[in-house]
């Protein structure tokens, strides 16, 4: 390659004197606050008085750690084979869901909208839904269309059932195309609520429309159903499949978005990759039981499986850590009647070994956690078993039940003594917490980076969304192997910080 001409991009360009002066000159027209005012306000924003006011907020929400229902319904739909997510409402919502998920997974996210406009507010969205079904089936040839709603359709009260029926009567869409639907208003719950609603709808719809459930084979009765829920880690699917194949257990994933969110670059694009086979859903009703690796994200789905399929259901928060994985393996063993394989017991030993190697860098580390309820419970458990101390736990979309469970978990260990669980709070609250009572590490999504920066606390990115680091979702965080990944992330962040802050004499080669 020839010599490179000097090229400065935004990282360096605007730090040059020329640009610094330019920005200084611009201030003359901004009527800006004085440096003293900014300094004062900045200091105030880091004060105890500010924290008090911050926690007294009733209505204003700043930097929440949650998204809205239909984002979850899109993810749920993409967990099924050749399924097109269809959002009934304004079209901008769909553009947002697609970009949001793409930014996390670095993958395409096919989804269509019924593109309702002002006249829809007057006449309802039936014509949009019918034409939308006709067009999307013609263009994208899905085997199933999973319909959910965005605000507009919910506020005006569109009747999805009647509209879909009309679409079929008019011949816009064939009788053979299953069209489960879910109401997913963004002004109720969060993305996990929408995931739950769509998953439940898909499972119940496919089960109920199937005529020959009795056709389940012997093998189907010996299978295990697995649910990963609103799962931003494609690596978790691979890890759980690996565990099950070591067990030698047959299984069906009820929702597996890992194909769609981790498809190969091989020269062509086909819209649909992997996913739970539609025909496997009715058969899953005959399975031995269902294990769900999220509880709070799939509440209604689990209720349905328990009552509708009369099946044993075991649910647990995201199994991060040794003990949580022990419980997962025990559950698999109990339902399938298979012993925990030696290979996994040995793996357990290796990961415990890794934890013993690193314990001295984890012990007593005070951490702050933010994320979805199931992830937080998994992380709290991991912290407690490694001697880390969860201090601030913010769960914007957590309910009272979550709070009780989290507090119960914290009180089960001396390392949980300081832990405070804040439900319904946002990352601006977290900012105050991190500043007034600093911790060693913050753990959460990319959205936590602002608060962590203001408090000068290193951030370990775990959860959703992760926009500013690549490929983290490809590595599992569940099971023994996932525990190793979580451990590596955390301990190496601690070690990096030791290097960054080391005094000259203490810049150690061996740690």
């Amino acid at each position: 390659m020839s010599a490179k001409p000097e090229i400065a991009d935004f990282n360096d360009l605007f730090l040059s004197d020329e640009y610094k002066e330019l920005l200084e000159r611009k201030k003359a027209f901004e009527a800006p606050c004085t440096a003293a005012e900014v300094e004062e306000a900045s200091a105030y924003s880091k004060s105890e008085a500010y924290k008090e006011k911050n926690f007294a907020r009733n209505s204003l929400v700043v930097n929440p750690a949650k998204a809205c229902q239909p984002l979850g319904s899109v993810m749920a739909a993409l967990g099924f084979e050749k399924t097109l997510p269809f959002l009934h409402g304004s079209q901008g919502c769909t553009a947002y869901f697609r970009s949001h998920l793409s930014r996390h997974f670095k993958e395409p996210v096919p989804a269509v909208s019924s593109s309702m406009t002002e006249d829809g507010a007057v006449f309802g969205g039936m014509r949009n839904l019918i034409e939308g079904l006709e067009n999307s089936v013609a263009l994208y040839k899905p085997e199933m269309v999973a319909v959910s709603t965005t605000c507009m359709a919910e506020v005006i009260g569109d009747d999805l059932n009647a509209f879909i029926e009309t679409a079929r009567q008019e011949g816009a869409v064939g009788k053979d195309v299953p069209i489960p639907y879910a109401n997913t208003p963004s002004f109720v719950g969060s993305h996990i609520t929408g995931y739950d609603a769509m998953l439940k709808s898909i499972l119940s719809y496919l089960y109920e429309r199937s005529e020959d459930v009795a056709a389940s084979s012997k093998a189907d009765f010996a299978k295990l159903n697995l649910i990963l829920g609103f799962e931003p880690y494609t690596g978790n699917f691979a890890e759980l499949k690996r565990i099950l194949s070591i067990f030698g257990s047959g299984y069906t994933f009820l929702g597996d978005q890992s194909g769609n969110f981790d498809s190969p670059a091989a020269g062509e694009y086909s819209y649909y990759y992997g996913g739970t086979k539609l025909s496997d859903v009715p058969k899953a009703a005959s399975a031995l039981g269902t294990i769900s690796l999220q509880k709070y994200a799939v509440k209604k789905t689990l209720e349905y499986i328990q009552s509708g399929w009369s099946q044993q259901v075991v649910s647990m928060p995201t199994p991060i850590g040794i003990r949580a994985t022990d419980r997962l393996l025990a559950a698999i063993s109990e339902i399938t009647g298979l012993d925990v394989p030696k290979e996994l017991t040995e793996e357990r030993g290796r990961i415990v070994d890794a934890l013993t190697d690193s314990h001295n860098y984890l012990h007593g580390k005070r951490v702050a956690l933010a994320g979805d309820p199931d992830l937080l419970l998994g992380l709290i458990g991991f912290c407690l078993e490694t001697g880390m101390e969860p201090v601030h736990i913010v769960c914007t979309n957590g309910d009272k039940e979550f709070q009780q469970e989290a507090e119960g978990l914290l009180s089960s260990s001396p390392y949980g003594e300081e832990g405070q669980v804040h439900i319904g709070r946002d990352l601006w609250h977290m900012r105050s917490l991190l500043i007034s009572d600093p911790v060693d590490l913050a753990i959460g999504s990319s959205h936590l980076k602002y608060a962590a920066k203001d408090a000068n606390i290193p951030l370990v990115r775990l959860g959703f969304p992760i926009f500013d680091r690549h490929h983290m979702h490809r590595y599992p965080i569940i099971g023994y192997q996932g525990t190793l990944n979580v451990l590596s992330l955390i301990v190496n962040t601690v070690l990096q910080q030791l290097d960054d802050q080391a005094p000259e004499y203490g810049f150690d080669l061996v740690r």
């Binding site: 991009d9 900014v38 553009a95 697609r98 507010a121 067009n135 605000c151």
Partner: protein
Amino acid sequence: MSTDLGSKQNLIDEMLEVYPDKARKDRSKHYEINDENLINCGKCSIKSNMKSRPGVMTVRGCAYAGSKGVVWGPIKDMVHISHGPVGCGQYSWGTRRNYATGTLGVDNFTAMQITSDFQEKDIVFGGDKKLEEICREIKEMFPLAKGISIQSECPVGLIGDDIEAVAKKMTAEIGIPIIPVRCEGFRGVSQSLGHHIANDAIRDFLMGRRELEECGPYDVSIIGDYNIGGDAWASRILLEEMGLRVIAQWSGDGSINELAIAHKSKLNLIHCFRSMNYMCTTMEREYGVPWMEYNFFGPTKTIESLRAIADRFDDHIRDNCEKMIEKYRIQMDAIIGKYRPRLEGKKVMLLIGGLRPRHTIGAYEDLGMEIVAAGYEFGHKDDYTRTFPDLKEGTIIYDDPSAYELEELAQKLDIDLMGAGVKEKYVYHKMGIPFRQMHSWDYSGPYHGFDGFKVFARDMDMTVNSPVWDLLKDPQRKAVSV
């Protein structure tokens, strides 16, 4: 019609065959192939700014995205409330890269998600009381905020809230401008109406409201530059270097004061015509401020624009302008010398908002690249008439194409580079087609001005010529079908 044009028309017709009748008829009106006639007169018949067909996977967004995401969001010293449920604000939080100086959360509120997080009770009983309280709480939490904008999400307009009354009451109570913006997502057919509504709100609440202490003969404003990756800064530096004084930036790295003083400009310079032309015509009508379009993508267009701008002033400015062009020409020649041989003849396809598909043509051409198909998500007739003359004969022009159409065309035209947004990006990676995000500059930039062109050239080269694309050719497989 020449054979080439005929075959391209066939390609489009065949591609659209898969659509049901109604949608096919509609979609076929959103295509036109450039020919000599269109190049000369620009009078095209392509349909634009119409409703997207439901279910086709349009690339478009909504009015809220146009107002909060594009026009208002970059105003750094105001707090912008995403008024309604949590999602809209969450998805548009910090993703547009409209850079601004200041301390985030203290005197700069751009990369923040401030929302009223509507719950069911707010839908049932209305959100006006909550909005009042939110304004008070913003004043408490962000004492240096110079204003508040209320960016309406869908439910607000459907449940009959009176945000205008709340804004009026709370402006009086807390003493900073509070601006209601009726940009509910269901309004209009794309982001475009949101731009217009946002412009109207600027006109009604801020434009012309403040005076400039000292006016000068060379005062200009930059209109419609959102400072993506620092674009507006890389533009401003050129205008200042030739002796002009930029008194306002709308709206990248902008401030409420700049919105209120821009009417004192001697000349308004508009980059993104689509999203802010309304304000130029308004300021011309109400304050007699003339305006002109300019294009700072690529040296050819940048130099052309700089000269055209200088021509609106005097010899002093014209001399400065020529001196500056000479200075940068050496740098630009070096860049072109390095990158043009690597990019010569590469075929490019573009689908971007309402400006860049035409504005970046020159920059690609400076690098020897050829645009084979281009179009807008939300362009209007006046954008298309400006586009045809800038493109070669045989170029396919489309309006609001679906994901399916873009993918078909990209393959049939055997392109070397696709420029669109994040929703499109990863599809092209699967297909092995080099792709650049042309909204966010793919987390790079700036692309405006001479400094920006260096980055643009580097980026196009790294993407088109990256060895990673060769890895798609799996030796175990006979051929990779594209």
